[in-house]
């Protein structure tokens, strides 16, 4: 799946990051130009989460031809599951010094809703991070793929699903903090969440997860299953005439992608310190698609690159020219399909790879 040289380079890169980042963030003095500030750490960590999400979108869109406009839902669900654990581990340190999360005290609830039980254990919450998005994706995918909904129809329905879920999470009665969602986290696994050491730790875990996700996706797309999945993308009907049933293949890739996205969300929440329903707005899902399109659909490096390019531009532009960020984003949506159909990776290939 990778050439020996690539393996070696990857290994060296990973070890370098694992060694250098903690040194730069914790040991190098703040005045030094090599110092990694907490802000930079969080920003890059956040974008790495987005990159995992972009990988997940690319896996279904670039390789299976399913443009999902619902991946922000899986992302946010993973985030919410992690958020439940983080809320519970605030313990008695909340504003109301109650065993219940603050927003429940505020709503005058007396006991935890049933789905909150057990979320104080990290292992169970981590299991939920995988199970909830996975199960939802599996059920939805089963019904959608079984009736052979595809193309723009499928995109629209995934968007409607996300929209409905967002409305649901905006309600206070749903038990996920309504409008405000979860915030004010204090600690994770006993470590104070804002400390630079904890941040560095989460950053490294995110980095390792990103590399792991890349390898997992690489493994899938180079396997035999991956070839069938690509055949689904190219001509599904021909594949069916050859005797394959695409349902299982599509369902597997779809569910795997949703789980990946959920994990990305779970890593995202402790770093940014908040999760609320706006995270699953339909617009966010479409933005995920543009990361993939900018980087290069149907390649695995592309989405990672795209996530960094678009979000880097976003954090730069929203800080300096906030009114024009949406123009820039909109222009990207128009320009990339028109003039960069293969994304940045395609552009680079044109220059560096001899045909």
């Amino acid at each position: 799946m990778l050439s020996p040289l690539s393996w070696r380079l990857l290994l060296i890169g990973v070890i370098a990051v694992l060694a250098l980042v903690p040194i730069c963030s914790m040991l190098v003095p703040e005045t030094s130009p090599f110092h990694l500030s907490a802000y930079a750490l969080t920003l890059v960590g956040k974008i790495m989460c987005y990159a995992i999400g972009a990988l997940a979108v690319d896996l279904v869109w670039g390789y299976c031809g399913i443009l999902s406009l619902g991946h922000s839902l899986f992302f946010a669900l993973g985030g919410y599951m992690m958020g439940m654990y983080l809320m519970r581990s605030i313990g008695l340190d909340g504003v109301y010094h109650s065993n219940l999360p603050d927003f429940m005290v505020f709503l005058d609830w007396k006991a935890l809703p049933w789905y909150w039980h057990g979320t104080e254990h990290f292992a169970y919450a981590a299991l939920l991070v995988i199970l909830v998005p996975g199960l939802l994706a599996w059920i939805f995918g089963f019904f959608a793929f079984r009736s052979r909904v595809k193309g723009v129809y499928l995109s629209i329905i995934t968007q409607a699903l996300t929209f409905a879920a967002m409305l649901l999470f905006y309600r206070n009665e749903t038990g996920f903090g309504g409008n405000n969602g979860f915030t004010d986290f204090k600690r994770i696994l006993g470590f104070p969440i804002a400390a630079i050491g904890t941040r560095t730790g989460i950053f490294l875990i995110t980095f390792v997860t990103l590399v792991g996700s890349y390898l997992a996706c690489r493994y899938i797309v180079t396997s035999k299953l991956g070839r069938v999945v690509m055949a689904v993308r190219d001509t599904e009907s021909r594949l069916m005439f050859l005797g394959y049933s695409p349902l299982g293949y599509k369902l597997f890739v779809w569910t795997f992608s949703a789980i990946l996205c959920g994990i990305a969300g779970a890593l995202y929440v402790p770093q940014v310190g908040i999760i609320n329903p706006s995270e699953m707005s339909p617009g966010n899902s479409i933005e995920m698609a543009i990361w993939v399109a900018v980087g290069g659909r149907g390649t695995l490096v592309g989405p990672i690159l795209g996530a960094f390019i678009v979000n880097g531009a976003k954090s730069f532009l929203t800080a300096s020219l906030s009114d024009y960020w949406l123009f820039f984003l909109g222009a990207m949506f128009v320009i990339v399909p028109l003039w960069l159909p293969k994304g940045v990776v395609g552009l680079l290939k044109r220059f560096f790879v001899k045909p």
Binding site: L167, L326, G330, A331, V334, P337, L338, P341
Partner: protein, 537 residues
């Protein structure tokens, strides 16, 4: 024979009552009103009510509005704007400045004035006045009016008003010691089927603590039970009618929003994420037209929709034409990328409007003829603006249907939708058809925006609120077929409104979505799919 005797008795009664009122009111009768003794005032008031003539009515009305004044020499006068009038002759009277002081009434007397007034009005010569008095009594039943109602009931000749009086009488007779009267009263109330009467009937079927019924007579109890059931059924009917209206109203809005989408999606297989922004453009065009009328033609402001409708169509159609010619044209055959591009365009349009008009909502007000509504039933009012929009949606569908089925452009659009290459072979310039059809669909969305501006807020994200619902209409109804879109929109509207009272708006939306996902299991291409032989439709 008995009825003859009865009517003779009645005639006597009327004669006696009449003879009482024969003696006209004099100034002396009114004098106590100007004094301070409330006992004397009460007697004078009874005297006026008993007189029951036009003078009495005039006086009571004036007292009810606190327009009666007294001078220092105990003359009682009616104040009519700036002038003072004698209550008996009606002639204008002049008094020294500051001499006339309003007479004082206590609450007891004020209540008596009101009940006496409605009693007198019950027998007023003018039918409209009588009817209004009866309706007032239905709204606020007054036990003291019992005698007045009975007197009026005996005199009334108009059959409609007579039955109203019967029911009014029944209200007072519910506590009558005679069971047969009570039974008659309950039956009369049951005929009315008015939910407000429920509180009067409830005590009749209530059980005491020891298990006995408050109402001793079994027949009356059974009749009351039946009446309650009839009222409940009536309420259910009103509620259903209300839900149906709300559903159709929502449906007609969805229809306006989704119609253009269905046309363009059917034609070029493009889901236009910027479709909601065409709605927004239409709404803002309406706003601009309204502002133009406000500043330049304030006298014709009520008719600004007449100009706003074509303006919103043209504005949105122009935007659609530019979008198709400028961008979408180059992306045909790549539907998913088109979807992304149109989303980008919607972002740009929203931000553009935000910069030009501000992020706040702008105010678009209904023309005055759209205010108010038809009160169909006591608890069901149909607002005119919603009715207008339903009619408007019908007209737009009619026009769209004519354009699609009766014009050359429509013929080309249908041909291209069904088989693009064959149409091109027959000499249709399909690329032109694409542009015009896209502009047409966008223009219809602009009309939808014009309609939406009359019932909701007009802001930069107006389109976002409707876009997902209109997608659902297209998914439900299938593409390229007017009938599918109409049924999809109306079905979606009514189903949402039926579910809403039980689960609330949010859960209703989710339920509708689940229903749609289940529905496409059976019909993956919508209600009315185009039939074709190719595998990849």
């Amino acid at each position: 024979m008995r009825s003859f005797l009865g009517s003779l008795g009645l005639a006597l009664l009327v004669l006696v009552g009449g003879s009482l009122s024969v003696r006209a009111l004099t100034a002396d009768d009114l004098k106590p009103l100007a004094e301070d003794d409330f006992g004397a005032k009460s007697q004078a008031l009874e005297r006026i009510i008993a007189a029951g003539d036009a003078t009495a009515l005039r006086l009571l009305e004036a007292m009810n509005q606190e327009n009666v004044v007294a001078t220092s020499d105990d003359r009682v006068l009616i104040q009519d704007g700036e002038t003072l009038k004698d209550p008996i002759t009606g002639a204008p009277v002049t008094v020294k400045a500051g001499d006339a002081q309003p007479i004082t009434l206590n609450n007891l007397l004020r209540a008596r004035v009101a009940s006496g007034l409605s009693g007198l009005r019950l027998q007023a010569p003018d039918r409209a006045v009588r009817e209004k008095a009866m309706n007032d009594l239905f709204r606020e039943p007054d036990p003291a009016a019992k005698l007045l109602i009975e007197a009026a009931r005996n005199k009334e000749t108009d059959p409609v008003l007579k039955s109203k009086l019967d029911q009014l009488w029944a209200l007072t007779a519910l506590q009558d010691p005679d069971p047969s009267k009570r039974l008659q009263a309950v039956q009369l109330i049951a005929e009315r089927k008015d939910p407000q009467m429920r509180s009067l009937l409830m005590p009749l079927v209530a059980q005491n603590k020891d298990g006995t019924y408050a109402e001793s007579d079994g027949k009356v109890r059974a009749a009351a039970n039946d009446a309650l059931k009839a009222i409940a059924f009536e309420e259910w009917k009103i509620e259903m009618a209300g839900t149906l209206f709300a559903g159709l109203s929502l449906g007609s809005i969805l229809l306006l929003a989704a119609l253009g989408l269905a046309i363009t999606y059917g034609l070029i297989g493009v889901i236009n994420m910027a479709h909601g922004e065409f709605l927004m453009i239409g709404a803002y065009a309406t706003y601009l037209v309204q502002e133009f009328f406000r500043s330049h033609l304030p006298s014709a402001i009520d008719w600004y929709p007449a100009a706003a409708v074509p303006a919103s169509f043209l504005a949105a159609a122009a935007a659609g034409f530019i979008l198709e010619r400028g961008i979408l044209r180059f992306l045909y055959g790549r539907p998913l990328e088109t979807l992304l591009s149109t989303f980008g365009i919607s972002l740009v349009l929203i931000q553009l409007v935000r910069i030009i008009f501000g992020a706040q909502n702008v105010e678009v007000s209904n023309p005055s003829w759209m205010n108010g509504g038809i009160a169909l039933m006591p608890n069901l009012t149909l607002p005119f603006n919603r009715i207008t929009i339903m009619v408007f949606a019908l007209v737009v569908v009619g026009i769209a249907s004519i354009v699609l089925n009766r014009t050359r452009l429509g013929l080309y659009i249908r041909a291209t939708t069904q088989n693009r290459r064959m149409a091109a072979c027959s000499g249709i310039r399909t690329w032109q058809v694409d542009s015009y059809a896209f502009a047409f669909g966008a223009g219809i969305a602009g009309l939808g925006g014009c309609a939406l501006s009359q019932i909701g807020n007009v802001g930069p994200d107006l389109g976002q609120n409707y876009i997902i619902d209109s997608f659902m209409v297209v998914v439900l109804g299938g593409v390229g077929q007017l009938a599918g879109t109409i049924i999809g929109a109306m079905g979606l509207g009514v189903i949402s409104k039926v579910i809403e009272p039980f689960w609330g708006a949010v859960l209703a939306k989710i339920a509708v979505l689940i229903l749609i996902v289940l529905f496409i299991q059976k019909r993956p291409r919508g209600l009315f799919a185009l039939k074709g032989r190719s595998v990849e439709v």
